[in-house]
Structures are given as C-alpha cells and as structure tokens.
C-alpha cells in the first residue's frame, strides 16, 4: 500500500514540476510584471507533496513494511524507533528523496522571498531549479526508487549497519544536504542571471542569504561528521582526508570563496563573472562529490552500497549541467571594466579566493588523481593525509597572516599606515608561541609557524573587536574562530600522546609516565548487540590523574558486525581516548590510549565559525 502511495506521489511531482516549467514559460511571454498566482500555488503544492512522499517512506520504516526493498535492506523490526526514523535518509534511495525535498523547498522559498527582483530573473531561476528537480525525480523513479516493491515479502529486514546507528550520523546527512543541495538555488539563480541579463549588485543581494544558509549548514554538517568519525571509527582522528570527506569539503571551499567575492559584488559592483563561476562551481562540485561517493569508483572508509548504473546516471546529469554552464558562460561573457585597487579590501577578497582555489584544486586533484592513474596507466595509487598535509599546511601559514591583515584594509583605496601595529601583533604572537613551546617542550618549524600565524590572526581579530563598529561582528567572529580552530588543531596535533600496547586480563604495564592496568572484562547483553566491556585504569605519574575507562568490543547481530567503541573522557583541557581490540588467536588485547589536548575546543571553534555565518545572515535579513 505504502509502495503505491509513494510511487503515485512521485509521479504527481513530475507532473507538477513540468507544470511549473510550462506556466513559467507562459508567464515569461506576458507583459505584466507579476508572476501568475497559480505558479506560487503549484510550488507550494509541490513542496508539500514531496514532504508527504518522504513521510510515507518514514512511515514504512516505522511500521517495518518490508515489502519495500529499501526498508528490507536497511531496517530491522528490533531496531530502536529513533534509528528506524533516521534510517529513512540513512540509505541511498531515501537520501535522494531528501535531496529532492531540499531542491523543492529552496525553490519555493526563493520564489516567495525575492519579490522585489525582476520577474524574468525569478522565473528563469524557477525553471532551471525545476529542471534539476525533474532530473533527480527521474533518477529516483528509474534507478533508485525507495518505493520499489519486493515479492515475496520478507519476514525480517537485513538491518542497518551498526556503525551508522548513531545520533550524530542521524543528523549529519540532513545538515550536509541543506548545505550542498541548498547550493543548487544559486546555481539556478546564476544561470537565470546570465539568461535574463540581471547582474551586479542586485543579483548579489538576491542570493546572499542563500549562500550564507548553505555555508552555515555545510560547516555544521562537516563538524558533525568529524565528531562522529572521532568517536566512532575508533582511532582518535577526526579528519582523514578520505574521498568521502573531501567530497563535502570541496563545495565548502567554493562556498567560502563565493561568500567573499559576493561582498565585492555587493559593495563595489565588480567581479560579476567570477562570482557567477563560483555559484556554478559550488553546485557542480556537490554533484561531482555525489557522483564519486555513490558510484563506488573510490575506495573509502565510509562505505555506501555502490552500483555503477547510478554512476552513469549522475555522470550524464553532471555533464549536462557542466556543458549548459559552459555554454552560457561563453555566450554571455564579456570583458567588464572591473576596477580593483591594490591594497584595498577587494584585493584581499581576491587573495582569499586565490587561496580557496588553491585548497580546492589540491583536494580535488588528490581525490581524483588515483582514478586517472588507474584508467590511464593502470597504476593504482593512494593519496592520503601525508600528501595533503605537506602540500596544504605551509600555505595555510601565509593564508592566516593575510586573513588577519585583510580586514584592516578599506574598500577602494588603502594605505598601510598601521605597519607598526602589525609588527607589534606579530611580536606578541611570537612571544606566546615561544612560551607555549617552552613549557610544553616540543619543536618543529612548521608547527611553530602555524601557531604564530594563528595567534597573529587571533590577536588582530580581538583588537578589531574592540575598535570596530558592531556591523563587522560576523566577520570578526568567523575570522577569530578560524584562527582558534587552526591554533587548537596545531596544539592538539603537537601535544597528543599516543600509547599502543598489548595487555591481558589482570596485567599492568608502565610506559613513560603512564601506568595501565586491565582490571576487568565483562560480557553485556544489550537489545541489538553483545558487548565485551573492559575496565582499564590509567594513572599519570606526572599530573597524578587517575582515570577509569570502559572501552567496548561490540558484536551486532543484524547484520553481523564487530565494532570497537572508544571510551572517551572529555574535559576542557583534553580528552582521554582509549580503544580496545581483540587480537586474533590470542588472549591479549590491543590497547590504544591517546591523550588529545583541547579536543573540545576544536568543536567549539567550528560552532563559533558557523555562528559568524548566522550573525551575517541575521544582519543581512535586517538590512533588507
């Protein structure tokens, strides 16, 4: 029953999207400056029906209707209700439905919130957005239909991968999707802007809020994903430069660049075509990322069930998008009289974009290069953290300095009268850095430079905070927290302690200033898994800290999987992180203990970073 309802609703949606496109074209031909009332109504209906369609699937998950293949493959009747609900978007088919929801809702909201912009621009945006919606609806119906029927109906589902049964991972996809699927609306707007010749300041104003919204959500989405990886994947890292993570980072770089160039377009009415390119690039990268992740051409920690036919569909969709973008860019591009002064704020925005493009190209290249070597020279290579760290980190140092100096410059023209200030701040940063390393004793040139540059950015942002008017608060908050983010990552990386050893029950071991003892092992029976829980005592002879940690080895039944749950004790100074794993054919357990300083502050910095985006959004809404 639910299967039929779902399919029916999907078909209605295809009809409604076509109807919107048809009516929009009809409306374009009229002289009047108003958009037909029925276009609004159909758009609203479309969003509503997509939501109902999604809730139908959720209902199927809740009642465990295994007549749907998707439910059968990804759920189990014994699964807790919360994960039944989050299971709706925890799989390929359901998550595509979430795509379409965001596409349609953004389409509707963009239509009603931009009433003071010209009719043609709004209609073209609507048409292009609905073409995107149609593309995804066809993909869903012909290739990845969540409402596909299975017969005979299985009695029980296969269950959801236990490592995905996690609250952080339940909210991760929706956040991320609002981010990168949300970028579709300014892809459509950019195309519409070229078609209807609606450029400049006003165009910038019409998309600014949307860019900010998607940026904030993308940032939060990446954060939640990292937190999940940190406590769930069990080896204490939070960023692995894994292809799937890179796929979410690439649009973020493009969005961040766009956010800045949009300011120039808004204030100074230049860089129009560059801004358009960034709008198109952001969504293109989002779809590229989806292609890489879902087609299974990459080998990654984050496994999705893969299928090449999906890949072909997304690839065709992607190529249509790119060639349409290129076609309009080539046709509409004309050299503009962009006017940029050196040392002005515009220059620094350009420099921001310059660095963002560098990061983007590095990460894109690192992600795609193995595919190219494999196809062209039949040589499989890996590109992992050591590559990204050695290429990117040195450049970050320079970037942070420029990020601190940039906002001091004025629009249009600026003279550096405050060189003395800069030197003073730099001196302060160096002194703090020396103090940190003096007390904690560790040395490497690159980490010194990272700390100095991030401290430089932090101090100058603080000074800014007391000098400037309240209007630059969003920028100060974001820049300040970015400085903190890099500072904390740097400190965390430098002063982490890691001990790796084997222990058996009742045994104790002393390593440097730490003493470890495996006091107890217990077998627990939970609802959907069994767990071996270890009780470990950790004594630090220097700080006199004593910790008891309870790492787990879990054995899930549906489907059968072994996972290692880290035991983490967090406080404001740092995390004690411990994982225990069994060694095959041995009574010993491998113990990995880590002390990760200032971990929680890394998360807080990212939250503050996105808060800056929120403040900017708020300010923008108040001004318009």
């Amino acid at each position: 029953m639910l299967s039929n309802t779902g399919n029916f609703l999907l078909l209605i949606n295809i009809f409604l999207s076509s109807l919107i496109i048809y009516n929009s074209f009809k409306c374009l031909k009229t002289e009047s400056n108003f958009i037909f009332k029925n276009i609004y109504q159909i758009s609203l209906l479309q969003s509503t029906i997509v939501l109902i369609c999604f809730f139908t699937l959720t209902a199927a998950f809740i009642v465990s209707d295994f007549s749907l293949i998707t439910v059968y493959q990804n759920s189990h009747s014994l699964k807790p209700l919360f994960y039944k609900i989050s299971g709706t978007w925890g799989n390929h088919e359901g998550s595509l439905l979430l795509w379409v929801i965001i596409l349609t809702i953004f389409s509707f909201l963009f239509l009603i919130f931009n009433k003071n912009h010209p009719k043609n621009y709004r209609l073209y945006t609507l048409i292009i957005q609905n073409l995107l919606i149609l593309g995804f609806l066809f993909f869903i119906i012909f290739n990845s239909n969540p409402f596909s029927f299975i017969s005979p109906i299985p009695k029980e589902g296969l269950g959801l991968n236990p490592i995905l049964q996690d609250p952080a991972l339940a909210i991760h996809p929706p956040l991320l999707y609002v981010g990168f699927v949300g970028s579709s609306i300014y892809f459509s707007a950019a195309m519409a802007s070229m078609i209807s010749n609606y450029s400049g300041r006003n165009f910038a104003q019409s998309i600014k809020s949307w860019v900010l919204i998607s940026w904030v959500f993308q940032t939060l989405g990446i954060l939640v994903g990292s937190i999940w990886a940190y406590y769930e994947l069990g080896w204490g890292g939070f960023w692995f430069w894994d292809p799937v993570e890179n796929a979410s980072l690439l649009p973020w770089f493009a969005m961040t660049a766009l956010l800045h160039s949009l300011l120039v377009l808004e204030k100074r009415n230049t860089l129009y075509f560059w801004t358009i390119i960034l709008c198109l690039l952001t969504f293109t990268l989002s779809v590229t990322g989806t292609f890489l992740v879902r087609s299974g051409i990459l080998n990654s920690v984050h496994t999705f069930a893969n299928d090449p036919s999906r890949g072909i569909f997304i690839l065709i969709f992607l190529s249509l998008m790119i060639f349409a973008s290129i076609y309009f860019l080539f046709n509409k591009f004309k050299p503009t009289n962009d006017f940029i002064n050196s040392n002005s704020k515009e220059t620094f925005v350009l420099i921001n974009n310059w660095f963002m493009m560098f990061y983007l190209i590095t990460v894109l290249l690192g992600t795609l290069y193995p595919i190219f070597t494999d196809v062209i020279s039949n040589n499989k290579i890996s590109v992992g953290p050591p590559f990204y760290n050695s290429v990117i980190i040195p450049v970050v140092v320079v970037f942070l300095f420029l990020m601190a100096i940039g906002p001091q410059a004025k629009w249009i023209k600026n003279k550096f009268s405050n060189l003395k200030n800069i030197l003073l701040i730099l001196g302060g940063a160096i002194i703090i850095n020396i103090a940190i390393f003096y007390f904690l004793k560790s040395y490497s040139l690159i980490s010194n430079l990272i700390l100095i540059s991030s401290l430089f950015l932090i101090i100058s942002s603080f000074l800014d905070f007391f000098k400037k008017s309240r209007s630059s608060l969003p920028r100060i908050v974001s820049h300040l927290s970015f400085g903190f983010l890099i500072l904390f990552i740097g400190l965390n990386h430098n002063f982490s302690v890691e001990k790796d050893f084997n222990l058996k029950l009742g045994e104790a071991k002393k390593i440097d200033n730490y003493e470890f003892a495996l006091l107890d092992l217990k077998l627990n029976q939970e609802v959907n898994y069994k767990a071996v829980v270890g009780k470990l005592e950790v004594n630090n002879s220097i700080t006199m800290e004593r910790k008891i940690l309870y790492p787990e080895i879990r054995i899930y039944e549906n489907p059968q999987t072994l996972t290692y749950e880290a035991s983490i004790q967090t406080n404001y100074l740092g995390d004690h992180y411990l994982t225990m794993s069994n060694i095959d054919r041995s009574e010993y357990y491998n113990i990995k203990f880590q002390h990760k300083p200032l971990m929680v502050w890394i998360w807080i910095s990212v939250i503050l970073l996105s808060l800056g985006g929120f403040l900017s959004l708020f300010k923008n809404a108040k001004n318009n």
Partner: protein, 173 residues
C-alpha cells in the same frame, strides 16, 4: 586566443568524463596482479620439520613451483585443500607449502586429517617472510617457473578453473 581557451576547456571536461565513465566499470579492489612477470626477491623460509632453509635456489631445480600460503585456522584453506591434493599428482609441478602464523600441532593435525599435498613444507610463524612475497591475507598461491619468475597469483582459495589453468601451463612444455 579566446577560441583556443574555450575549446581546451571543453576538451578538458570531455577528457574528464571519458575517464570517469571508464572508471565506472573497473574493479576498485586492490590486486597484486602487477607482480606477474617479476622475479621473486630473495627469501629464507625455515623448514617446517627440519632445520634446513628454503631459498630461491631451491625453486630453480623445479620446472614449476606453486607456493601456497595456508594455516589450520583458515577456513577457506580447507576448501582449497582437495584441489591441492589433485595438483600434487602432477609431475612437472612441485608444491611448496608455507604454514602461516600457525601452531605446529594444529598444522600437523590438519595435514594428517586431509592429506599432505606439499613436496616441501616451510613455516612462517610471524608472517614476516610472507611480506617478501606480497602476501596480505591467506590463502594465497603463487605459480613460478624455474627462473623464479611469477607466472600467476591466486588470491583466495583455489578453484577448479585455477587448477585447470595451472595444468595447462605446466603441461605446455
């Protein structure tokens, strides 16, 4: 000038799509096929029973050698064992078994139970020696000729098809 830039951008994208399209139908899993055609590097394998040591020189005496990595705790090894027994009847082929990270008692029991197909039997208690052969999991088998050049690698248990492939090669003399 503008034309050149434009067409090169379009060509670049076409090239990227071509690569993406091709990669869709490729095997993404890791394989060690590129080792085929290379010679084995120097190795020193301790004998399972006696004190002697097997090196590359020992393999040069045989026309063909199949080096088979196995253990009593490895379930797929049980599956491929009958096929090894079949191969042990071939005259042109010697089989060198390498007992991998195993206990001697269990390994002996395994062979007593299922039969011993190995002309020579070596052991690798720590698994370190197997790295010389590019082994990353067992069972794995390597077919080499009398110049110790690798003719074929078999990852996972041997099956009927593999057996016939080996027979074809060793009897083609």
């Amino acid at each position: 000038m503008q034309k050149i830039i434009r067409s090169s951008i379009v060509l670049l994208f076409i090239f990227v799509f071509f690569v993406f399209y091709n990669s869709l139908n490729r095997e993404t899993n890791y394989s060690t096929d590129y080792l085929v055609g290379k010679k084995l590097t120097k190795f020193n394998l301790k004998s399972f029973h006696e004190k002697n040591i097997y090196t590359n020189e020992d393999l040069k005496k045989n026309d063909y050698t199949l080096i088979n990595f196995w253990a009593s705790w490895c379930a797929p090894c049980r599956v491929e064992h009958p096929y090894l027994m079949q191969l042990s009847k071939e005259k042109n082929l010697k089989i060198l078994g390498v007992n991998f990270k195993d206990k001697k008692i269990n390994a002996s029991k395994f062979l007593n139970e299922l039969g011993n197909p190995y002309n020579d039997l070596a052991k690798d208690m720590t698994g370190k020696q197997s790295v010389n052969f590019g082994i990353y999991g067992i069972p794995e088998s390597i077919l080499v000729n009398n110049e110790t050049m690798i003719l074929k690698k078999f990852i996972g248990p041997l099956n009927n098809q593999d057996i016939n492939y080996i027979k074809d090669i060793i009897n083609s003399l």
